[in-house]
């Protein structure tokens, strides 16, 4: 058994920081948000440093085998720190103007991150559940943090109720697994199922409940109903947070629960994932066409992207995991960039970008922002030479390699449907004349513009030279097993 302290050091740092930020917020009386921002960023940096110190190629267990550090956990945790750091940079000014940049906000994001880390590192069903609850409760509160906003409260309540139901599903599934195998440790479950050598009727129920719970947390169709409402109701920075970082946790949860503990039932969950992938891709892309509100549109787009991630994962092969990891990393860059553009253009209350038509005339007034938007949405649509192309490419390649040609064809048709609404946004930004009553905000915040530009340039550069990311994701997924 390794030293608990070194394996879980990043989590310990996050926990201490989350509590001290809360206290400091009260102490400063919420007047000195810059220092809170600094402390949070420093926390992320420190945790990233200590996470990177852990070895990629060995599995370190802690807390009596309930907590694991392996390649998957290191990769996904580093991604989480990175994207949370960007989320904070992008949302700082917006939340400051709305007077929401308080100690509670930073504390809740850090607690959510702690939950994400717990899920990613869990090697026991109890730890999984603990992480899910910590993450979900923080997210419910974050959605409702703008307490004067009725829409946000409504979204939070919806999210809370549906999220609780999904947690219930998961827990019910866990209890059945425990009843059948007598253990909650992920490796032991796998061993027990392997030894039993027979599929049990009760177990298929457990499998369905667990898969449904995962799909719900991921936001895959047909369990996607909360996604558009929550995306639309929350403040844009919170939407950006919900849309990016928790995806890593869901991804880890799926790999830990399905690949690592129930690998014996691969045929069964494979078909479930495949069906959900196809429904998500088609439903997300078709429904998004009809949307006029930009966050709702991005919500449906998110559902379709989750479909692609599921398609990669449905192969049940290492290449599939690698492609899904690549996809989720690419999606993180694209989703942060797209929300970043919306936020940077709507920093003042009266000029918020709500409908896609509010982007009209962007190319004439802010050519650079329009260019960033062009790249980001082309990448979401999967047009080369952007990272979005290789994301789709790697998924489709792994699917065809697995011998599934028709799911690849469906994926491609749905991607084509998706291109229409991405093009529609580009069309509005480039071809339409500016609205007279809406003015784009003059941007003073230099660091925001620079970070956003670097983010979008990364989309192109990794699109041109994707090799290192492909190597990292492949190495990560090989080392999981």
């Amino acid at each position: 058994m390794t030293n608990i302290f070194s394996v879980a050091l990043p989590e310990i740092i996050i926990l201490i920081s989350a509590m001290s930020v809360l206290l400091l917020g009260v102490y400063f009386n919420n007047k000195n948000s810059t220092s809170l921002f600094g402390i949070t960023q420093l926390t992320l940096l420190l945790s990233a440093y200590f996470t990177a110190q852990l070895p990629m190629d060995s599995k370190l267990l802690a807390f009596g085998g309930m907590f694991i550090s392996d390649s998957l956990s290191i990769y996904l945790k580093l991604l989480s720190y990175f994207s949370l750091s960007l989320v904070l940079i992008y949302s700082k000014d917006f939340l400051f103007q709305k007077k929401l940049l308080t100690g509670e906000f930073f504390s809740l994001t850090l607690f959510a991150l702690l939950g994400i880390n717990l899920i990613i590192s869990s090697f026991n069903l109890l730890t999984v559940y603990m992480g899910i609850e910590l993450l979900s409760l923080s997210l419910y509160t974050l959605v409702a943090i703008d307490r004067k906003n009725k829409e946000a409260s409504e979204a939070a309540l919806k999210y809370f109720i549906l999220g609780a139901v999904a947690s219930g599903f998961l827990l019910y599934g866990f209890s059945m697994v425990y009843g059948l195998t007598g253990t909650l440790a992920i490796d032991e479950i796998s061993q027990q199922l392997m030894d039993a050598q027979a599929s049990s009727f009760v177990f298929s129920f457990a499998l369905v409940f667990i898969t449904v719970g995962i799909a719900f947390k991921f936001g895959a169709a047909p369990f996607q109903l909360w996604v558009p409402d929550v995306y639309q109701g929350s403040s844009t920075p919170i939407t950006m947070f919900i849309g990016s970082v928790p995806k890593f946790a869901s991804m880890a949860m799926l790999i830990r629960l399905l690949y690592q503990s129930m690998d014996y039932y691969v045929i069964d969950w494979q078909s479930m994932l495949l069906i959900m992938a196809i429904i998500s891709m088609l439903l997300g892309n078709i429904t998004a066409i009809a949307q006029v509100k930009i966050k709702r549109l991005l919500a449906y787009s998110a559902i379709s992207h989750v479909g692609f991630i599921f398609l990669g994962l449905a192969t049940g092969a290492v290449t599939g995991i690698a492609s899904a990891l690549f996809y989720v990393s690419a999606y993180m860059l694209m989703t942060l960039a797209s929300f970043g553009i919306i936020i940077i253009l709507s920093n003042q209350k009266k000029n918020e970008i709500i409908e896609i038509n509010d982007l009209a005339g962007l190319a004439k007034e802010k050519p650079w922002m329009a260019f960033l938007l062009l790249i980001t949405f082309l990448s979401l649509a999967g047009i080369p030479p952007t990272i979005g192309f290789y994301a789709k490419f790697s998924v489709i390649q792994s699917v065809i390699q697995f011998g599934w040609v028709w799911p690849a064809v469906i994926a491609i048709i749905s991607a084509l449907i998706g291109m229409y609404y991405y093009l529609k946004i580009i069309k509005i930004a480039y071809f339409d004349d500016p609205n007279s009553d809406k003015k784009f905000v003059k941007q003073q915040n230099f660091e925001f513009t620079i970070t956003l530009s670097i983010n979008v340039m990364a989309i192109i550069l990794i699109g041109l030279f994707p090799e290192f990311l492909l190597d990292i994701t492949t190495l990560t997924s090989i080392l999981i097993f």
């Binding site: 030479p385 490419f393 040609v405 291109m419 093009l423 069309k427 480039y430 994707p466």
Partner: protein, 490 residues
């Protein structure tokens, strides 16, 4: 830096350079710089022409660098006799489009010129890539500048046209991507040359061929997936129409030669009746559709589809004569259609309408223009002595070797082509001056005269001395014909 990379990346980087500096300089400087950049790019390809060794089979000036080892994707470019005339055409026409741009483009000239520079680099990239994914990336990336060109500088219905253009093309090319990935899983490589040696069963060949067909037939375009072209042409600015007709349509024909036919030759034979039928429908039916058009641009757009039907007919005859004829028809159509769209641009800049009925008796006011227009209309209908004749004649001969009836149907177009071309001339150039506005017309200015004269010379040159093209292509087309005629069944 090697020459082919220089030919591809020079216009792209210069285009971006122009975008970056455009706020600091005036429109005149932008125009002059744009021309300079276009000429630089043209002279690079011209230099390649003089260096090209006509007696060598296979690819010359090859460059190879590992790019994405993970999927064994390489930066692999090379040029043979099939690609050389097409890249010359691309860089020349792109420069002419930039040269004439100051006449009609009023808003954001730098962006307009930069789009054409980037577009020409990407199209040259398509013609030179020997790696499937490199090719695919150029092929898709090319859509972005064209999408913006039609959408920003186009006519009233431009948004519909440009989105239709984009989605149609992407639909096809995504199927091509599946075919490439499938071939990759079979051969473990994305190199086109590796695909040439791969044996495949007939079922697989047919599926792969159809996937390619989806992509290339849309691009050419063949009946019945041609409907995006008239819309895109009508709404595009003059330069956009010229590039679309002269080069983008050729990408489809080129890709059939480079990918579909040599990779799946048995499928081509198996599907020959189907392919020939579609080509004949395009030739005859679309020519009839062209006759009844009232919009000049639409008429020329339909005539383009009909002429590209000749290209596909020639290629799918799968005999050397038809192949050579189809290829020459591509080059010839590149010049003629470019000239016709330039001519329509000239009229449109003066009158701001494309309605045929608004014109009449133009020759009274614009005698030089009238002369050129008649020449190009004649070339379009396949008058001997112009380049239009050579290609069509060879294709019909190739068809005759195959089957009398195919040749008969194909030659019908000589009548229909003459009908729509000459009737167009009659209504626009000759006759009485119908509209008062026509009295305000003035003849070609120096720039327009230069463009028209250059294209006229090239059209006549290929017409009387087609060997200038076939000398270059001979060796390479022999290689491709060999590949097509060998069975690749296991």
């Amino acid at each position: 830096m090697s020459l082919l990379s220089l030919a591809i990346w020079t216009p792209i980087f210069l285009g971006f350079f122009l975008l970056v500096i455009n706020t600091k300089i005036s429109n005149t400087v932008t125009y002059l710089l744009g021309n300079l950049f276009g000429l630089i790019s043209f002279f690079i390809t011209l230099y390649l022409y003089f260096l090209f060794d006509k007696s060598v089979q296979g690819f010359q000036f090859q460059e190879f660098a590992p790019w994405i080892n993970y999927y064994s994707i390489n930066y692999h470019v090379g040029m043979d006799g099939i690609s050389l005339p097409l890249i010359l055409l691309t860089s020349l026409i792109s420069w002419l489009v930039i040269f004439i741009s100051s006449n009609s483009v009023k808003k954001s000239l730098a962006f307009y010129i930069a789009s054409f520079l980037i577009l020409s680099g990407l199209m040259i990239g398509v013609f030179l890539s020997l790696d499937a994914i490199l090719y695919y990336i150029f092929w898709e990336a090319m859509l972005i500048p064209m999408f913006l060109l039609i959408g920003i500088w186009g006519g009233p219905n431009r948004v519909y046209a440009t989105i239709k253009f984009f989605l149609y093309t992407v639909l096809g090319s995504l199927f091509m991507l599946i075919a490439f990935i499938y071939l990759y899983t079979q051969t473990g490589s994305f190199s086109v040359i590796d695909y040439y040696d791969k044996t495949l069963t007939l079922t697989h060949q047919v599926l792969i061929f159809l996937a390619f067909f989806m992509a290339f037939a849309v691009k050419i375009p063949m009946w019945p997936v041609h409907t995006w072209l008239p819309d895109a042409h009508v709404e595009a600015p003059t330069g956009g129409s010229v590039i679309l007709a002269a080069i983008m349509l050729k990408l489809g024909g080129y890709s059939f030669i480079r990918f579909a036919l040599p990779i799946a030759p048995d499928a081509a034979i198996y599907l020959k009746p189907f392919l020939v039928t579609l080509s004949l429908i395009a030739i005859v039916y679309i020519a009839l559709v062209a006759i009844v058009q009232t919009d000049m641009k639409k008429l020329i757009a339909y005539s383009s589809i009909s002429h590209m039907g000749f290209v596909t007919l020639g290629l799918f005859m799968l005999n050397p004569l038809g192949f050579e004829g189809g290829y020459i028809q591509m080059i010839s159509h590149g010049f003629i259609s470019a000239a016709l769209f330039f001519a329509i641009g000239v009229l449109y800049d003066r009158m701001h309408t494309r309605d045929i009925s608004a014109y009449g008796g133009v020759i009274n006011k614009m005698p030089i223009f009238g002369a050129f227009f008649v020449l190009f209309a004649m070339a379009n209908s396949g008058l001997p002595g112009t380049s239009g004749f050579v290609g069509e004649f060879m294709v019909i001969l190739g068809a005759m070797q195959e089957n009398f009836w195919i040749a008969l149907f194909a030659s019908l177009t000589l009548i229909f082509g003459a009908t729509y071309s000459l009737w167009l001339v009659k209504r626009i150039i000759f006759g009485v001056v119908k509209d008062e506005q026509n009295n305000a017309l003035f003849d070609l200015n120096a720039k327009e005269f230069f463009v028209m004269a250059l294209l006229a010379i090239l059209t006549l040159l290929i017409g009387v001395y087609p060997a200038i093209i076939s000398d270059i292509t001979n060796q390479s087309s022999a290689v491709i014909m060999d590949l097509i005629q060998q069975s690749k069944l296991p």
